[in-house]
Amino acid sequence: MNDENLLLLLILIPFIGSALAAIVPVNARNAEAWLSGSVAIVAFAIAAYLYLSVADGGVVRYTLEWLPEHGLNFMLRLDGFAWMFSMLITGIGFLVVLYARYYMSPKDPVPRFFSFLLAFMGAMQGMVISGNLILLVIFWELTSIFSFLLIGYWHHNAAARDGARMALIITGIGGLCLLVGLLIIGHIVGSYDLDVVLAAGDKIREDDLYVPALLLILMGALTKSAQFPFHFWLPNAMAAPTPVSAYLHSATMVKAGVFLLARLWPVLSGTEEWFFIVGLAGMSTLLLGAYFAIFQQDLKGLLAYSTISHLGLITTLLSLGSPLAAVAAIFHMMNHATFKASLFMAAGIIDHEAGTRDMRKLSGLFSFMPITATLAMVASAAMAGVPLLNGFLSKEMFFSEALEEHSDSILDGVLPYVATIASAFAVTYSVRFIHTVFFGPKPTGLSREPHEPPHWMRLPIEFLVLACLIVGTIPSLTIGPYLHTAVISVLGERTPEYSLAVWHGINTPLIMSVTALAGGVLLYLVLRNYLTRCEDGPPGVRNFKGQRIFERLLVTISWRWPLWMEECFGTYRLQPQLWLVVFIAFIAGLWPFLTTDLNLGLPTLDGIDPAFATIWAIGIVCATGAAYQAKYHRLAALILMGGVGLVTCITFVWFSAPDLAVTQLLVEIVTTVLILLGLRWLPKRLEETDDSTTLIAHMRRYRDFSLAVVCGGGMAIIAYVMMTSPLPETIADFFLQRAYAEGGGTNVVNVILVDFRGFDTFGEITVLGIVALTVFALLRRFRPASDSVETPEQQRIQNAFDDDHPDRKVGETVYNYLMVPSVIMQWMFPFIVLLAAYLFLRGHDLPGGGFAAGIAMAIGFLLQYLAGGTQWVEDRLRILPLRWIALGLILAAFTGMGSWLFGFPFLTSHFQYLDVPLIGKVPIASALFFDLGVFSLVVGATALILIALAHQSIRSHRVRTTEAVKAEEDA
């Protein structure tokens, strides 16, 4: 397999492993560990193999086109620096899996743990080998998300939930800023390709947008690497299981920030802004982190602040802008990962075996776990920067760089002192860690007897500590070439001469080191007594917690402000909301009149047909009447509304729109029946006799009335102005001229619906189908209000009549009610079906079409229900509206797709003449089948809605009879 595909595998394997790990049974700890371990070791092997290709500045690339037109491709790019990180991610990942196998309790749901861990591994891996800036951000955010899930792994624990949320918010906001920053970089450079960006350093630094881009990118990097003032999420993330802390929050994920700073170092560094912002953040983090670490009582808290401080050290080095400092930064990333991961694991073992991480309770553990203690001592020594260990080497490089002059500023001037002091603090907390935990009197009050952990659990620490030792004693023979590979991939031609020797002679850095060591030990001796009994947190600023500020901020933004806004602007009432909507619409309609100079001529009364005016006089009376009666006289309002519908219908006929008139008339019928069916379930409302309405209610009515009047008046004016202004050239000509030539129909409206704009119609019938299904679904769970359950009064009287006459069966009168119209309606059925067919078939050439025919057909069914009653119809006729709907949609879709077979786009229509025996030549258009689909769907949807509503009467009837039976039984 070639290198490019191996690169892809490097990402895919962890994600596939994650998916597999998620489906393993909950208690299979060993299977999980084997799976995850194999994934990590295979990825590690692949990464190791790829060294051959990246040594001496080689780069492996993999490109998969994604959105090339936007410069977005799935590009992977492995160079020496990314390779170094890949090795850390997969290597430490493997050790952490091994450790976690023994750390996790059999009660923990391990599939979730290992699945997230592997997914994190994949995301982190993807982040370091992304060759495209946007892809990098995507993986970056994925690491934040998996970090969130892993910190919150023990989600029954409030601290874990809070810590996870805080980490997600802080790093998520940073990630968002990073995205914007990188978009700006992409804008400046004109490409998101990392290679192109890295080659455009001068262009970026000279651009006006450099500072905003830098600030945004730094927001991303500094939040991720927990730099001051965003550092506080990391100590809270310690609620995660210790393997997670060892892996994500010391060795890998928090390194993402400094990784990015180093990655973009050739492009962004070297300016004053860079030095001041990055340097200030780095130095304050270095110093404050170390200071805070001294006063922690929780082992993991100490290590967390120490991590913050060490990341500050790396940031400081990167801020200096000198190549040698960058070398030191890259070297320290590696060294810190090794000693800090081992220390976290050691802390986890102590917690596991002694039952607590509180340093006030721990002491004298050396005699219980001598091997672990020795390992922890070596790793702490590396953390403190003791000679012959790897931490010493990078710290010496840091000191010598701190002494160099980089810019003429106070910040640069104080750096050597800051470095020495922070280093002394590092010695203090390292000594404290070892001395408190392992020496002194035997511990009292522990919940269990501490002992050495299983050997396999200790193995990862042994391995890492050995690495610290070997690198610390013979650096140039071991880490030298690999470090060189990483360094040249970042610095390229600017790679400086550097020496990895352990002994450089007696020079200023060495003196600084010795000072720091001596000062640190001395400081510990001074503070020792205080530390054994003090509270958690550094004196002086103990109560000043970033966490508390963050939480207060969070509560303010996400709770207080929304609540306040809701109180001010919100309402649960519909009427004010609708009022506002109408009012805004009114203003929007008014706007053109205010801004443009409209010439409103006086309306003339010329050419008004008195018949038409009379019809509309009736329409106006109906409309106002409906508005007036809708509250207390619902049936009257419904009838008046039907009158308005008829006037509308006549208007359509009058002004040359026969299709609309037919459809309007038919829809009018079904709407009326629909609302009639609904009336049955509405409460009785008698006209109020007493005048109980308040003044406010009166005012409200006047307000609504005025809004209605001005809106209606506005509509009238706009309509009049539009109708009397000359018609500009419209697309109507296009449709009229091509309706027959291209659509094969002479009824242009129908041709537009089923041919030119067929896709719109397809969407519309889909909506119709969805609405019908929604109505059906809502009615399935329909429970009427208790006062509507009773049988209607008329039926009760009729049934009572049956009861009184022994020769009549109960229900007979109801059944025979309106017998003559019923019979007529039943006889009408075939004629209505014929009418529907007629409307459908003529639709393409004359007024009619699928919509009208569909509704006509549905009315046919409806009349049968009205005539015979629900049960009578359903004993004789199975309508199955759902199938009509499905058939209609399928027919319309397949007709549309049919054009694909001939290589045309969806819904391209075709028509030709067909010789039918007896009838002769008839035009057949593919649009006819589409219209058939429309027809079928409209039948189904209309019938479904009406039948579902009609069924409610017989359903509640059934409920009532069972209740009646029950009542009788009780009696």
């Binding site: 040359s656 709407t671 001229q737 409209v938």
Partner: protein, 114 residues
């Protein structure tokens, strides 16, 4: 003729809006129907008013677009009528269900305290 129709549209819209702002669900459903008549007529009238010129052409003849009514607003309104029926049905069912659940036909699901 334009004057009559525009006054008609205005009255329908005004009546619809008045009902839309009322507290009873039945008033709102009638209001919405009236409003949709007004809006349909309004859209239809954007093609201007023409008498005796339905957009039904004669096959095979030269077509002068000026002699036909505008088919585009008609096509728009035709689907609007059908969809309007569907939304009326949906609203009706929602108001019935709401009345069943809350026991009141007030739009807010509870009587307002006046």
């Amino acid at each position: 003729m334009e004057l009559v129709l525009s006054i008609g549209i205005g009255v329908l819209a005004g009546s619809g809006i008045w009902l839309l702002l009322r507290p009873r669900t039945y008033q709102v459903i009638i209001g919405l129907s009236l409003l949709s008549y007004a809006v349909n007529l309004f859209i239809f009238s954007m093609g201007r008013l023409t008498i005796n010129a339905p957009p039904v052409i004669k096959a095979g003849t030269e077509i002068d677009p000026a002699t036909f009514a505008d088919p585009v607003p008609q096509a728009l309104v035709l689907t609007a009528i059908v969809i309007g029926f569907a939304t009326t049905a949906l609203f009706l069912v929602v108001l019935l269900a709401s009345r069943g659940l809350t026991g009141t036909d007030h739009v807010d699901g509870k009587e307002s305290e006046r």
